[in-house]
Symmetry: C2
Subunit: 345 residues, 2 copies
DNA sequence: GTGGTTTACGCAAACGTTTGTGCAAGTATA
DNA sequence: TATACTTGCACAAACGTTTGCGTAAACCAC
């Protein structure tokens, strides 16, 4: 009873040819001038036997799979999980299914993963690259399959991307700290040389420079991990000149930093202030709620899918590059040391 | 230059037949007694032109895609994001790629999503069902494609599953509250009738019964959302008999509850205690750190993949049903009202 | 030099679609 | 009444693999 239901079996049961059945079931009945009666018959039979076309065969024949690839460094990071969530949902709304690759920040995983996506004939790929070299991806985008970058991008690339204006974010976050009287600000970065890090750091440095404090810059760290935030903070808390504020470049780094601070018995923001990049529901519930530069995660996800769809539909590479403005969300993790000085002095 | 690289083009360039090329490139050279020299030639050419087999064609022909489907209610929920993370990584370690479907707790999304997975000939499906009826999935598991349930399962089903021992979790969490002197405990549940909710509630009720407090049971709520936790807590804070403790059945419900409590100006745990299900990094950083029944997320993910692989390899349904023990993590969100009464009295 | 193995490969069908082209019968036009 | 469209469908190739079977040549034994 669970026979195979193919276009062929339907053709045999209805007496029409395979091509006619195909045209009817793929909505080309009109164009092929199939008679109303025939359409009826075939559709009935298709419904009766619960026919579902083989997407493999369809993809093989048409070279279109209605599938996109999503390549991210880590689904464990809530930032990427949120990004993935909106991308998967948006893609579905366009009729696309998403294949997810988690690279764990490893370049060879990235290559293998993308190769696997291409072997599957995905119609497009959204990727947060962990490597530095755009050439490979550019080549794919030009000759094979549309690629859209999110979150991270390359120096001068023809690849379209959508990301936060990281320079602005770094600048404004630092300005906020400066305006609250902090002059000894530690910046804990993630994967060095990645564009977001470089831009955020550039913003940080420029803000310091604006106050003539460039030589006070302190940049440490090397990965977007809790561990990194923890260790770097641990180190600095024991240093001679303890910073009055920490600028964490991601939510993971933030958590590590907070852990270290708590262990040292210091209080946020009384003893040390902290500000972070990223945004998520939990940050409002942390003790104290964390002041942050919020990235527009949903917008990034939605726009990246939209760009990819455009590139797929127009069958050509596009070159849209979008930088979205981050937003400062002020909570209670940054103390105003000017007021404090007044009070004390 | 970016010619198509198929087994056919390689066959033309090397002068060997398509079948020979196929056998060599799919590792069947030995069995087919292809000479060492031929193997060399073909492999060289394949490497030279960077040949990657079409997984569509391969899947169509062999009925094996090395792909699994993952169906979850919401990637926004950090619990499912963590689950997805380990599943995607583990599957990759077995050589499988994962297609993710986000049902948004909607049964028709679930059906469509799974239909789409089947149309793609996935080799197996891991699913957290949002519907109540196992029949459809059981049928798929029997006749078409292996299915493994995670997190939620059905009353009496032949489907294999791996989940937390939710009864035990509900029971122990409630016991912990009772042992701390709470007798007025509000339980805020998620999607009703889902097995985890029913089991956790059963545990809650049984613990109360053990102290002869069954008539004090208060169960409210209807979904695993922040909104639900917020509204139910809001309601109860204004009721005549304010509970002394809240048992939130998920991290989302927890966040909503905390928000409501804060808005009311009450303090945790001095005015009201709270305990939750689930576990994640952030819960340690919340004010105060939240006491919780931790589900073994990674184990659930790993085991579900393992079971699915077993079912795929053995080409038959399996009936392993695993309940993993949750673990109580004591933090600071539950007050001991006995001690307090002593002090006050 | 005959018969039987072994070695090394090729032929062609099949997986389930889509689609360009062909063609008979019916209808309209001249 | 011949000509020209139109209607309604069928044929068969193609997408890129895998695989059962067939077979020519070489080798061996006698």
């Amino acid at each position: 009873m669970e026979k195979k239901n193919t276009i062929i079996s339907i053709s045999e049961r209805t007496g029409f040819s395979v091509s006619t059945v195909s045209r009817v079931l793929s909505g080309k009945a009109e164009a092929a001038r199939i008679s109303k009666a025939t359409v009826e018959t075939i559709q009935q039979e298709a419904k009766r036997c619960n026919y579902k076309p083989s997407l493999l065969a369809k993809g093989l024949r048409t070279n279109k799979t209605n599938t996109i690839g999503l390549v991210i460094p880590s689904m464990e990071n809530i930032y990427f999980a949120n990004l993935a969530s909106t991308i998967i949902r948006d893609a579905r709304a366009y009729g696309y299914t998403t294949v997810t690759v988690d690279t764990m920040e490893d370049e060879s995983n990235e290559r293998n993963g993308i190769d696997s996506l291409l072997a599957r004939n995905v119609d497009g790929i959204i990727v947060t690259p962990c490597g530095q070299d755009p050439a490979w991806l550019e080549n794919i985008n030009r000759n094979t399959t549309p690629v859209v970058l999110i979150d991270r991008y390359f120096n001068s690339t023809e690849l379209p991307y959508v990301c936060t204006d990281n320079y602005q974010g770094g600048y404004e976050a630092t300005r906020y700290l400066l305006n609250n009287g902090h002059e000894n600000i530690l910046c804990i970065q993630g994967t060095p040389y990645s564009m977001p890090v470089r831009e955020r750091v550039r913003g940080y440095l420029n803000a310091l420079r604006g106050k003539g404090l460039e030589e006070r810059a302190r940049i440490v760290g090397d990965s977007f991990s809790i561990q990194n935030g923890y260790l770097e903070t641990k180190l600095v808390l024991n240093s001679v000149s303890r910073p009055t504020a920490i600028f964490a470049l991601s939510n993971t780094i933030l958590l590590g930093a907070i852990k270290a601070i708590r262990e040292s018995g210091l209080s946020i923001p009384n003893d040390i202030s902290i500000i972070t990049f990223d945004n998520n529901t939990f940050l409002d519930f942390i003790d104290p709620p964390v002041t942050r530069m919020s990235q527009p995660v949903n917008e990034i996800g939605t726009l990246s899918v939209k760009l990819l769809m455009q590139s797929i539909d127009e069958k050509r590479p596009i070159d849209t590059k979008l930088q979205l403005q981050p937003q400062l969300i002020v909570c209670e993790s940054v103390a105003n040391v000017l007021l404090e000085a007044e009070r004390v002095g």
